[in-house]
């Protein structure tokens, strides 16, 4: 096995490249195979309108000023600007009633900017469509 020793001395890349050809490629075919996402992923927020006491703490603490308090049926509710949001979940932490929870939805790309603004009604737990 002189060749084997000689190959090893040469450079490990020679053997590695050949062995890689016969191994299964490490590619995950994303659009067909949905990726397994860990539990705590910081994806899109899920806002529960029933728990919210419209105190505005989340809007005050948001580093990117992505939460705007909007009047919904008399009460002030947070409206999420997803294009400004940096998904740090400081709002979930500083919300006294933890009405904001994280979810694993991360496919948020959109062709026009307007549907990146998530209104409180449409985003609440009951109506969580997307």
């Amino acid at each position: 096995m002189k060749v084997k020793r000689e190959m090893a001395k040469l450079s490990p890349i020679l053997r590695e490249v050949i062995s890689q050809v016969f191994k299964k490629p490490a590619t995950r075919r994303y659009p067909e195979v949905k990726p397994k996402v860990p539990a705590g992923l910081r994806g899109r927020q899920i806002f529960d309108i029933t728990l919210c006491i419209s105190c505005g703490l989340c809007a005050r603490d948001c580093p990117a000023k992505a939460i705007e308090m909007v009047d919904v049926e008399g009460k002030m509710r947070p409206l999420f600007h997803l294009d400004r949001c940096i998904f740090c979940y400081q709002c979930a932490e500083s919300c006294p009633r933890n009405a904001i929870k994280s979810s694993e939805i991360f496919e948020l790309a959109s062709t026009n900017k307007s549907d990146l603004v998530v209104k409180p009604k449409e985003n609440s737990v009951s109506g969580g469509s997307q």
């Binding site: 890349i13 490249v17 890689q20 050809v21 490629p25 075919r29």
Partner: protein
């Protein structure tokens, strides 16, 4: 001269233009898939059955792109250099016997080996012109690097090609391919190895991938090209790859001639030719994957201080072995 249908068919369709184009695209697909597999990823899948039509999709897309000619580029040369170099490469295919007989029957003559090699050099020179005529500093540097590399590997190319010609006793490619009862690659393996390394330099593959090194000079001589011209420039590059591999097959692996089992000989010859050519493509791809890119002055050192003397040495040894085998 009456329009000889068989002649038109041979030139335009089978071993001629259409076959070469499709075969080049197939080789480009093989190359991309092999390189992807060597890097443990998948390569194109979604265009065509297994991504086979990917090079075709690239080509057509480039044809439909907007065509920009830089304002102070030298118009004439800028427009025609890619197409002319592409046509020269395809034209030099005419002399290689793909299915037993050369494309245009009776077109192989004594010395067509020298003609093919010079055609390759001229086409490469045109690539230099294409870079030089687009007045972008990056393509200027890329172009000068094409030239320096061209000078570096051209002479060893000729010398190495002479070795099999000497063994076969003739300068006619078809004759050389015919005389190889034992493929020269096994008879004079050192010349074959040097020829493959030289091929890497000619095709600007990885160890010698200096002219269009993305990291230093944006895209080398291709920087200013868009649309149709870029399509032909890339296709010229692919055809050159297939042509280089084809020359290696003709000179060292016995061309299309291989054992025929039954049925039409032309079919078997083409199959053998395609098979051998794919082997050479895989070998060059393997070399690309295991080497990092050398600096331009290191490439020159390798060309002039290493390839040239070794080529001369191998020619001398081949002549010695030849004379010792069957004295004149």
């Amino acid at each position: 001269m009456s329009l000889d249908l068989n002649f038109v068919f041979r030139v335009l369709v089978f071993p001629g233009f259409a076959f070469i184009l499709l075969f080049t695209m197939f080789c480009d697909w093989v190359e991309r898939k092999i390189e992807a597999r060597m890097q443990n990823r998948m390569g194109p899948i979604y265009t065509g059955p297994v991504g086979v039509l990917q090079p075709l999709a690239d080509f057509i897309k480039l044809l439909t792109k907007e065509d920009i000619v830089p304002f102070n580029a030298k118009n004439f040369v800028f427009r025609f250099a890619p197409i002319v170099s592409f046509s020269i490469f395809v034209f030099s295919f005419a002399f290689l016997p793909i299915d037993g007989a050369s494309v245009v029957s009776g077109s192989n003559f004594e010395g067509d080996l020298i003609l093919v090699l010079t055609l390759v050099s001229i086409a490469n020179f045109l690539l230099f012109l294409s870079g030089w005529s687009s007045t972008n500093p990056y393509s200027a540097i890329g172009a000068t690097r094409v030239l320096t590399q061209l000078l570096g590997y051209d002479i060893p190319l000729f010398i190495l090609a002479l070795a099999p010609a000497f063994l076969a006793g003739s300068l006619n490619i078809a004759a050389i391919a015919n005389k190889q009862y034992v493929p020269f690659a096994f008879l004079i393996p050192w010349t074959f190895a040097l020829f493959i390394i030289n091929l890497q330099a000619e095709l600007e593959k990885d160890p010698f991938d200096v002219p269009h090194a993305e990291t230093e000079i944006v895209a080398g001589y291709e920087t200013e090209y868009t649309g149709r011209r870029l399509a032909f420039l890339k296709l010229a590059k692919d055809v050159q790859m297939v042509l280089g591999a084809a020359i290696a097959v003709e000179l060292f692996l016995g061309g299309p001639y291989g054992p025929i089992f039954y049925g039409l000989s032309a079919v078997w010859y083409t199959l053998w030719f395609v098979l051998k050519l794919l082997i050479v493509v895989v070998v060059t791809e393997y070399l690309t994957c295991i080497f990092a890119r050398l600096r331009i002055d290191q490439v020159l050192v390798v060309n002039w201080k290493l390839l040239l003397p070794l080529a001369l040495l191998s020619l001398a040894v081949t002549v010695g072995v030849g004379l010792w085998l069957n004295p004149l």
